[in-house]
């Protein structure tokens, strides 16, 4: 990958449609901007978005820029198939694909969803129909309809060829920019070249905001057509906004690129669209199907988030999941983990409270909880309680890979 990175730095930057979490700014202009409807299909009725004139199983003409981009992306897709980040859990993959097919309808065969193991909320669409959904996203949508909203949004990028438009836009702008830079450099003012660069980036960013807005429109349309409740779409952003706000490290975007509160505008726009769209007779959120699919992997995904050591946003995420109410014991366990690992004043006592809550709550906490209880007691100097917890851990995990280490700790506590 290193060599590829080196050689394709420039081209790859533009390959993936900017998405979801990275582009909260998409709604800066709100819904009242110029109406965009696909070519050859005049806006009729009340809903401002339609499926474009792109036929299923589209393949680009080899003479075009698009074909060149596909060439690279197809190579990338071959690597992704066996990449380390790809989640390969047959039932889960099949589930995500089934949702994608239901949303994409006749375009089902054109869109291939790859579930990528990564914390955080993100998804991306490549121009050839390869879609990446980050595993962290599965913690941040609470039912199948919300997952469908994200997939529908990405499908919108595909159907409207947003990435290709973006690449052409970047190409055009960088081509004209370089002459400006040359003239400025010739005049001995290289700094000014950076200002020009910034302005170009800003206009590319505005371009992608329009694409995001349009993709959201498609998302609502595809959801409704597939029989999902379109009212679910805006709810995702409510949760994401809260989590972002808890992230102290999250850099405020510069004046050039966007300003808050864009996601509120986005939510409002999605609400409006959900009212406008023609609703299916029976709507479905698919909550049970969704929960059943992610239950086996959820604790691993929560651990991924905890590895980020962003305790504030992690807590917000846990709060929402607790409110949602599935396997609360596991969630209290992770609340305990958060406090134990953060280990600031009073955290260890709080950790123990949450472990206790996990023990008595509905659902099931992972068996490693006893070890965590032991660790918290150990740090607090509660030798007897620590010892008991470690004993419990070994009893509940007779084949624990760290058994020898734990026994050594127990021995130390007996002295």
């Amino acid at each position: 990958m290193i060599v590829r990175n080196l050689l394709f730095v420039l081209s790859f930057c533009a390959l993936i449609a900017a998405c979801a979490a990275d582009d909260l700014s998409a709604y800066k202009r709100g819904l009242d901007g110029p109406e965009r409807t696909p070519k050859g299909e005049p806006g009729r009725g009340d809903f401002p978005f339609r499926i474009g004139d792109l036929a299923p199983a589209h393949k680009p003409d080899p003479k075009t820029t698009e074909a060149g981009i596909w060439l690279q992306v197809e190579k990338l897709e071959r690597q992704i198939k066996t990449a380390g980040r790809r989640v390969q859990i047959p039932e889960l993959n099949a589930y995500v694909e089934s949702v994608s097919c239901r949303v994409a309808g006749p375009y089902c065969g054109d869109i291939r969803v790859y579930l990528m193991r990564s914390p955080g909320f993100n998804a991306g669409m490549y121009p050839n129909g390869m879609m990446h959904v980050w595993s962290g996203l599965l913690l941040r949508v609470s039912n199948e309809a919300q997952l469908a909203a994200v997939i529908g949004h990405e499908a919108g990028h595909y159907l409207r060829r947003h990435t290709m438009k973006r690449i052409r836009d970047i190409l055009d702008k960088s081509n004209s920019l370089v002459f400006v830079q040359l003239v400025l450099a010739g005049a001995g003012i290289p700094v000014a070249g950076d200002v020009a660069m910034l302005m170009t980036l800003a206009s590319i960013s505005a371009f992608s905001r329009d694409s995001e807005r349009e993709a959201d429109g498609y998302s609502i349309l595809l959801m409704a057509q597939a029989g999902y409740d379109p009212e679910e779409a805006w709810k995702i952003w409510e949760a994401i906004t809260k989590e972002k706000e808890a992230d102290k490290e999250f850099e405020a975007p510069s004046f050039f690129f966007a300003s808050h509160p864009v996601s509120e505008e986005r939510m409002e726009a999605l609400k409006k669209l959900a009212k406008l769209v023609k609703k299916p007779r029976a709507v479905d959120t698919g909550r049970e199907r969704f929960l059943k699919a992610i239950r086996p992997i959820r604790r691993h995904l929560l651990r991924d988030e905890l590895h980020q050591r962003k305790f504030g946003p992690f807590n917000v995420l846990l709060d929402r999941l607790v409110e949602d109410g599935d396997n609360v014991a596991e969630l209290h366990f992770f609340r305990g983990e958060m406090h134990r690992i953060r280990n600031q004043e009073g955290d260890l006592a709080k950790a123990l409270e949450f472990y206790e809550k996990a023990r008595t709550s509905p659902g099931r906490a992972p068996a490693e909880m006893w070890r965590s209880v032991g660790l918290a007691h150990l740090k607090l100097g509660h030798r007897t309680k620590a010892r008991k917890a470690f004993d419990d851990y070994l009893r509940n995990n007779p084949n624990a890979t760290d058994g020898k280490m734990i026994r050594q700790v127990i021995k130390g506590l007996e002295k």
């Binding site: 990958m1 290193i2 060599v3 990175n5 080196l6 050689l7 394709f8 730095v9 420039l10 081209s11 533009a14 990275d22 080899p62 003479k63 820029t65 074909a67 060149g68 981009i69 596909w70 060439l71 690279q72 190579k75 071959r78 198939k81 066996t82 955080g120 993100n122 970047i170 190409l171 702008k173 960088s174 081509n175 004209s176 920019l177 370089v178 002459f179 040359l182 450099a185 010739g186 980020q308």
Partner: protein
């Protein structure tokens, strides 16, 4: 996206770039052997699907891959190899395998990934006198994938594997104009370039017996004669 997550990888990529810039080489070959075995039964080379892309270099410095040129270049490269192998009495083993099938054979897939990693290691570390050079390997060319590669020897029915990687770019008319104006202002602006490497791996021992790098501002893979010229340069010193 997280800041700094790709930092180490990108750092290494830049070290390689820096190394290329410092060396300013056209072609630099490293060999462990100059000859293949004399026994005609042991002169079988499988050519792994060459990784080739030709692109247009736009004025702004972005590269746009071009499918037609790439297909043309692949044809020329295949023709050159056929000719060269025939003249050199080497049997070319045809790989009747779609790229997607590789992933289904986990052992092969892992060996291919290891081959890629060894290739990257050579690219990072095989630089005489450069900070990235490994002092213990100074003055030598000792790289291997290890004997597990024999699995591919059996699977492909070949004694050696040849791997080719080429990126070739051509200045657009806009870029050409920029170079012209830049020159008037006394500013040097790079045009299209050929970057590539090729390696030959012994499928019995796993040793990389030959490795060549190519970096130059000229060459043209779109024409038969241009492709022959490039391939001669890239495959110069390949064991005979």
């Amino acid at each position: 996206m997280q800041k700094g997550s790709n930092f180490r990888r990108s750092t290494l990529a830049f070290l390689v770039l820096a190394a290329l810039a410092v060396q300013g080489c056209a072609a630099t070959a490293h060999l462990k052997t100059k000859t293949l075995p004399a026994d005609p039964e042991k002169r079988r080379i499988v050519v792994l699907t060459p990784d080739v892309e030709l692109s247009i270099l736009h004025a702004g410095g972005l590269q746009e891959p071009n499918v037609e040129w790439t297909e043309l270049a692949k044809k020329h490269i295949a023709a050159h190899l056929t000719k060269k192998f025939k003249a050199g009495n080497i049997r070319m083993v045809k790989l009747e395998q779609k790229e997607t099938e590789i992933g289904q054979d986990r052992r092969e897939s892992q060996l291919r990934k290891l081959h890629q990693a060894v290739g990257h290691a050579v690219l990072f570390h095989q630089w005489e006198g450069h900070p990235l050079a490994l002092p213990t390997k100074a003055g030598t060319f000792e790289w291997t994938m290890g004997p597990e590669i024999r699995y591919l020897k059996q699977k492909y029915g070949a004694d050696f594997a040849l791997f080719i990687f080429i990126r070739d770019s051509y200045a657009s008319s806009g870029r050409a104009a920029l170079i012209f104006f830049g020159a008037l202002l006394g500013i040097g602006i790079p045009g299209g370039a050929q970057v590539g490497f090729a390696s030959l791996v012994d499928l019995e021992t796993g040793d990389v017996v030959w490795f060549n790098r190519l970096l130059r501002p000229e060459g043209d893979l779109r024409t038969t004669s241009g492709a022959d010229e490039t391939m001669k340069l890239l495959l110069a010193d390949m064991p005979k």
